[in-house]
Subunit: 399 residues, 2 copies
Amino acid sequence: MGGAGWRGHGAVLLRGEAADRGECARAIGGSQYTRGRERSRSVRRTRGRAGDLTVPLRLPGGRPGPARPVAVRAGTTVSGWLDVPDGIDPGTAIPLSVVRGRRPGPVLALVAGTHGYEYTSILALQRLLPRLDPRRLRGALILVHMANPPAFYGRRIYYGPDGKNLNRVYPGKADGTVSERIAYVLTREVIDRATHLVDMHCGDANESLRPYAYWLVSGNARVDRASREMALAYGLDHIVIDRSRPKDPARSGYTANTAILRGKPGLTAESGGVGRTDAESVGAHEAGVQSLLAQLGMMEAPSVRVAHPVWIEPSEVLRSPLAGVWHPAVAKMQSVAAGALVGRITDPFGRLLHEARAPFAGEILYVVATPPVSQGEPLAGIGRLVSERGARAARRSVP
Amino acid sequence: MGGAGWRGHGAVLLRGEAADRGECARAIGGSQYTRGRERSRSVRRTRGRAGDLTVPLRLPGGRPGPARPVAVRAGTTVSGWLDVPDGIDPGTAIPLSVVRGRRPGPVLALVAGTHGYEYTSILALQRLLPRLDPRRLRGALILVHMANPPAFYGRRIYYGPDGKNLNRVYPGKADGTVSERIAYVLTREVIDRATHLVDMHCGDANESLRPYAYWLVSGNARVDRASREMALAYGLDHIVIDRSRPKDPARSGYTANTAILRGKPGLTAESGGVGRTDAESVGAHEAGVQSLLAQLGMMEAPSVRVAHPVWIEPSEVLRSPLAGVWHPAVAKMQSVAAGALVGRITDPFGRLLHEARAPFAGEILYVVATPPVSQGEPLAGIGRLVSERGARAARRSVP
């Protein structure tokens, strides 16, 4: 894709006047921290419009008290905390940065740390932030540094303290439990302001995972084409085609699906796992974001676009029929034949309770690498590689 | 140590008559699973006496309902579930095996999985069980395969579902929360029956740890000498000397300390970490147990006794003064100078909040390897190596 490729993807432009409204942050170009100051005239804000970058934030070092609308000036970066108020359980504050370029362009949301034990995305955004020079940027970036602080600090796997998976409860509920309220706030304050979105993941604490992206096919041809280009631009050469996500925007479930069902192209990217913070896995996310900035015409940056992707469809999650001690028999990335042993579940004494076998020939996308499993929990993700003939047909037939 | 070395360590002999009382398990030598049968005469049980191997168990495949006292016959192995009844929160069932030799000897308790995310010990006991031939054994082994099932299946770090650290609440409470009730049951049914104990650990899910043992010095010269010999026999060449554990048996806190304060020599052994199940870390526990069996004169087995230990005293846990994102600057096993940077804590945006520094020159025993840290949580364990002169003096002065 050329440097101005985003224009072809239905991007809604950042409205240049946004910075002239509401409370302004006194920011110098590239500064990471800015303090707000009150303005005498009333704050006019338009919710749910892509490109509106007046965000309610508590700024580090700012006055205590509730968040105030902060209009991010062109050519500046503002970091602060997006409040998720207390409700039927304790709330949280989501660390968020807005990097606003001098020229209009797409508004790309990068969501890290939806699952509390997935660290590569959080570290990738930490590393990217100081290198995202707003003076060199077209459009804007919204970095959600840590979508799920209670799960992060609680070192929780899959679920938040309310027992809910944040990546299943979108678009959230204003009066729900904390995961639902996080989803509600992120839908309203981040997804609704964005034109494009990347939901950045890795294998959870217990998942040994090969890097791959999800291309979510919604049925909206314009969005699906743009999402496909984003997935290729991100540079992970294995791309799972997933047509199974919900199609009702009121029950979108997943972060990226929420954006897509609202007409904003997006992808889910997976790199890393088992609680690791290895430079290779973090670096894949960094390289993917930079490549996407180039593809969307937002910044000059190295492209890692995949020229020869391995498309995967279908993919299936093997689940445990019972609780026990899991002994994986495969490693991530390996090919398995149909019926091959994926792993065994024993009781604590070592007696065999269950053998998990591959439902079809394919590749191990991830495998649970730690012993505890309970009924219904994932054991492994396996994907079937689309044949060359299938891939050629797909190139012709995809929207 | 010679093959009959245990005799010198104050071992209380397994009372040969134990198998003639209570409900007997019909077991064949070496069989891993046995079913109980009811006996018409009443069950006479003496609690809290080392060597009494009539244990209340639910046997796999046995009748539903409460556990029944199972007397383990000489030359047999019985595996079953030790109930921790429901109380003010849900209870659990602890998987336990008793391997009883044909001849009298020490009763060695092996406690695995006190912390739910520490897997090497659980896998080591699974691997050891089929190789522990009761016909070749003197005395008996009590294998606690998984001391903390709610923490294991909940993939919990440090704490159980009640927010308590099982390895701090011994000797437990019959009417406490689940961690306290587990400690109560294990004290009563395992520690009180044992003559020696190994508490098998590794670094928790977030801890990258070098292998080492704790020699807990209680002040009881006989027990301390025997505990020291056990630590050497276990084969981990770094041994932390810890004189700081509680001395009141009613507030013993730790598993191994509970045994020691009851006159039963013991150690805590650490091998593995960060949720890994690597063969090397599991194998160190297996080799340590086998070597200990040889040292205690319980079984002919390869010795890995340490001839030239690295004694460590003092050791200190560096703790976080605040919540944030941890970036370790050291690796396990490395030496650090006094004042050396151990790691940094940033906020989610990457701004430096705190630098953790080594309080003295020493070796990194473990370092937290994952980003989340909250106030008061460990960041690293550092130990000072006892000098050669100090080690020589210690050899003369230790009890």
